[in-house]
Each structure stands twice: as C-alpha cells, then as structure tokens.
C-alpha cells in the first residue's frame, strides 16, 4: 500500500513537471514569463484564480472548524463566493484589466505606483505584500508537509523537499504559463475529491436532515443558531472573502486575462467551481463530527473520514487533492513574490530580456529555498504570524486598490499611510492577544477599517492627484 502511494505521488509530480516543461517551450518574452503575455483565456483564468484561493487548509485546517462548530460552518465561504469571487470578477476584475492596458502595468505593485504616480506608495505596497506572502508561503509549506506525513507516512522533511522541488521546477521553468496550466489540471482533482467526500458523507448521515438531527442531539449549537464564537469567526469569514480583492496573487489573474469578453466565461466557471468546492467541503466537515465522535486531532478529521467512508485506496486520491491545493497556491505565491522583487529592483530598466529570464529563475529558487529552510524548523516568530497573514493579505491592500480604481480624489500619501497603519494594526492587535485565537481573527477588524477609512479621510485634507494622473486613469472615451 505504501509503495502504491509513493508511486501515485511520483506519477503525479512527474505530470506536473511535464506540464511545466511544456509551458517553458511556449515562453517567448518577458511578458510571457511574468503574466502569460496578458493573454490567458477565461476558463484557465477562472481555474487559476480558484486554485490560488484555496490551499491545503481547505482540506486540512478548515476541517477542524467543521468538526468543532458543525453545520454553521456552511457560512464560512459565503463571502468567498459572493464578494471574493463573484464580486471580484464582475466589479474589480474588468476595471483592473482595462486600466492595466491603459496605464501599462503588469502587477499590483506597478498598479499602485502608476495609478498614484508615487514610488513610495509602490514600495510600501511591495514591502507589505512581500512580508504577508512570505509568511503565507511558509505556512502552506508546513501544512502540506504535515499532511503528506500523516496521510502517506513519509517523513516531514522528505515530504517538504519533494513537494517544494517539483513546485519550484515548474514555477521557475514554466513561468506564469507553468503556474496556470498546472493549476487548471490540479483543479480537477480538488473538485472531484470535494464532491465525492460530500456525497459519501451525506449518504453516511442519511442526508442533510439526518445530519442536522444527529448534530442537534450532540449539541444544538452544532446544528444552527445561536452559534459559538460568532464574532471572531465571522471576522475570519469576511477576511477570507476579501482575499479576492486584496491578495496580489489573486488580483494578478485579472491583469493576465486576455480581454474584457473573457470575463463572461471566467465569472461563471470561477463561481461554479468555488461553490462546488466550498459547499461540498463545508457540509462534509460538519458531517465529520456526526460520523466521527472522537478524533485524535480535529485538523485531520478528513483523513479519518476518508479512511472510514471511502473504499481502500481512496486516501491516495485525497492526498493528491491536498497536494494539488497546496502546490497550486504555492506556485502563485512564489511567482508573485518574484514579480514584486522585480518591481522593487526596477529590473526591466537595467537588464536585457535574457538576463530577466535568469533573474526570474534565480530569485524564484532563492525564495523557495529560504522559505523551505524556515519551514523545516519554523522560527517561533514566524509561527505566531501564521494566523495574521489572512488579515494582512485581505485587509491592507483593499483600500488602495478599490479607491485607486473607483475614486479620483484618492491621494498617494493617503494610501501610503493607510497601508502602513493597517499593516501595523494587524500585527499589533494579534500581538496584544498573544497571537492566539480569537485575537488573530479580531485583528482583521481594525485592519480593514483603517484600510478603507484612511484613504478618503486623508485624501480630503491633502493635495489631490494631478489633473494629468486623473485624466489618464478616469478619462472616458
């Protein structure tokens, strides 16, 4: 059984590497390398967005919430679906895509810099996002290595190194195309596993009504209102929902999309896949409480659930789905971090195209190696910051992005102050609570408030952007 698991993992990793190598042969320019030539179709964009959104947490860590809180967990991804996906594709995406062509930016940092005509604002965004993404990257590495360790019985170190090496190979060689193509393939595995686990869980609990009755008999709060830990959990849910507007790895998908018309299919595919994945996994994780009354560690409730309700051998597919979820998010994060460094260094003005290819690959390797070394034995300082990354990635940048797209009066100094203040508050509030639940979730409140309130307030008392900047961004043709 162990041998079959290792062979399945090896075949899976080989296929991902092959996709990366094929992508490498399609790269002709620096734009291809970083943004897929800004020519990614609607369906691939949607699948790439969807897989970037959900890491292995959706199969591992989030399951603990379902086991602990029961059916109310179905609320967890309402905001992800309505705001983070549907709203982002209908409201944020098209506007950002059009502006990217008009102003000539190819990343979120470049957008901030060109929209506000301010190098300082761009550097602030780059710093904040790099820190958030780097910590997020390590947390995903730790999560996937632990998952492989538990499910496949492979040592933590080997699991970590094997996963990261393959992800690194197709990210570094295949560039942006390598990212989105592997993500599209991985989305199939994730969806299959989520829907299968949901159907079998509900059959095991005699349907939704049977699940409701069983959970009610255990504890009424597992089956409906009133909920336990309502405030911190809803803050978490809202912060998850706003990731689609603030996480640069996700927002990038709106810059690389081919054209305005591609948003039609992308919106439907992204929404359908997100609903299918999240609703299935939320129902299944609630069912895990009804099916498994005692588990050694709620984080791995799905692992025990799969072993209980699936035929033997299905845990291999579960493992591949977990790997898919992790690697698809990791590749996007690594690519985005490299892109951020490129923007900060201002490389395109210095090097030729060939050197840019070299830079991309060397920097991606350095980022992956650094994060892997930290993930092997995460420093305590990094571990405590894991819980704050969602607040940072969803809360800090949302004000500067939204006001930048839709409000002419927003000034560069206002968004710079907003980014610094909201980032600081995310860390400070979490630190006040010892970086523990519920304070890591409470931290999102002030973060999003500062990000949304400071730009209009400060803009009204500072010098407005120049007429030229406003005309370039908001001119109607």
């Amino acid at each position: 059984m162990m041998l079959i698991t290792i062979i399945a993992i090896a075949v899976y990793l080989a296929i991902m590497t092959l996709i990366g190598l094929i992508a490498m042969t399609k790269i002709k320019s620096v734009d291809d390398l970083y943004v897929g030539g800004m020519n990614i179709g609607g369906i691939v964009t949607a699948l790439s967005f969807f897989t970037t959104y959900f890491s292995s947490v959706i199969f591992i860590g989030a399951t603990a919430l379902g086991w602990k809180y029961g059916l109310p967990i179905v609320w967890k991804d309402i905001f992800v679906v309505l705001i983070g996906t549907l709203g982002a594709f209908i409201i944020l995406g098209p506007r950002l895509m059009i502006l990217s062509r008009r102003l000539g930016f190819k990343s979120v940092v470049e957008f901030i810099e060109k929209r506000y005509s301010s190098r300082l604002a761009g550097l602030t965004a780059a710093t904040v996002m790099f820190v958030g993404l780097f910590i997020y990257c390590i947390s995903i590495m730790v999560g996937v290595a632990r998952a492989v360790e538990v499910v496949a019985g492979v040592s933590y170190t080997i699991a970590l190194i094997a996963t990261i090496t393959v992800t690194l190979v197709y990210t570094a060689l295949g560039g942006y195309l390598g990212q989105v193509w592997t993500q599209a393939a991985q989305s199939v595995l994730m969806l299959f596993m989520a829907i299968a686990i949901c159907i079998l869980s509900l059959i095991a609990t005699n349907g939704l009504s049977g699940l409701h009755q069983t959970l009610s008999s255990i504890d009424p709060s597992l089956a409906g209102w009133p909920y336990r830990d309502f405030v911190p959990l809803f803050l978490l849910y809202i912060s998850l929902g706003l990731l689609g507007w603030g996480n640069p790895a996700l927002v990038m998908r709106f810059i690389s999309i081919r054209d305005r018309i591609s948003f039609r299919s992308a919106t439907v595919i992204a929404t359908v896949t997100t609903v299918a994945l999240t609703l299935s996994l939320n129902l299944a994780s609630a069912a895990s409480r009804a099916i498994l009354s005692e588990v050694p560690n709620p984080e791995y409730a799905f692992t025990y659930l799969v072993q209980r309700i699936f035929p033997q051998g299905f845990d291999i597919i579960f493992l591949l789905a977990v790997l898919s979820a992790s690697m698809s998010t990791l590749t996007a994060i690594m690519g985005t971090m490299t892109h951020i460094l490129r923007d900060v260094v201002g490389l395109k003005k210095v090097f030729s195209s060939r050197n840019e290819f070299l830079f991309y690959r060397i920097v991606t390797v350095i980022i992956a190696l650094t994060a892997t070394v930290m993930a092997l034995q995460p420093p305590q300082m990094i571990i405590v910051l894991f819980g704050v990354t969602t607040s940072i990635l969803s809360g800090v940048l949302i004000g500067p992005i939204v006001y930048g797209l839709f409000w002419r009066r927003t000034s560069a100094i206002a968004v710079t102050i907003a980014m610094i203040a909201s980032f600081t508050s995310a860390i400070a509030v979490s630190a006040y609570g010892g970086f523990k639940f519920p304070w890591t979730y409470y931290a999102f409140g002030p973060t999003i408030l500062l990000s949304l309130l400071i730009p209009p307030l400060v803009s009204l008392v500072t010098k407005p952007p120049s007429r030229e900047v406003i005309d370039r961004v908001f001119s109607k043709c």
Binding site: I78, L86, W225, R264, V268
Partner: protein, 44 residues
Amino acid sequence: MVILIVSWDIVLAIALYIIALVISILYYFTSNKKSVEPYNCGEK
C-alpha cells in the same frame, strides 16, 4: 437528499450559494458579448 428538518439559518446560507450561481449565469447571458471599452482614448 431532501431538506426536511434543517434550521432556517442553514437553509439561508445554502440559498446564498445558489443565488451566487444564479447571478453568475445571469451575468454570462446579459454582459456584452461584442463591444469592448477601448483601453485608450482614440482607440477603436
């Protein structure tokens, strides 16, 4: 699978997922299929 005895809040949550699906499909059929806003003034 029949929704028989499930509390109102859970039904509401599931309904919101379905509403999102419906909106995305409506968007597909109602958004403009041909004309694209010119990216730069003067571009047709």
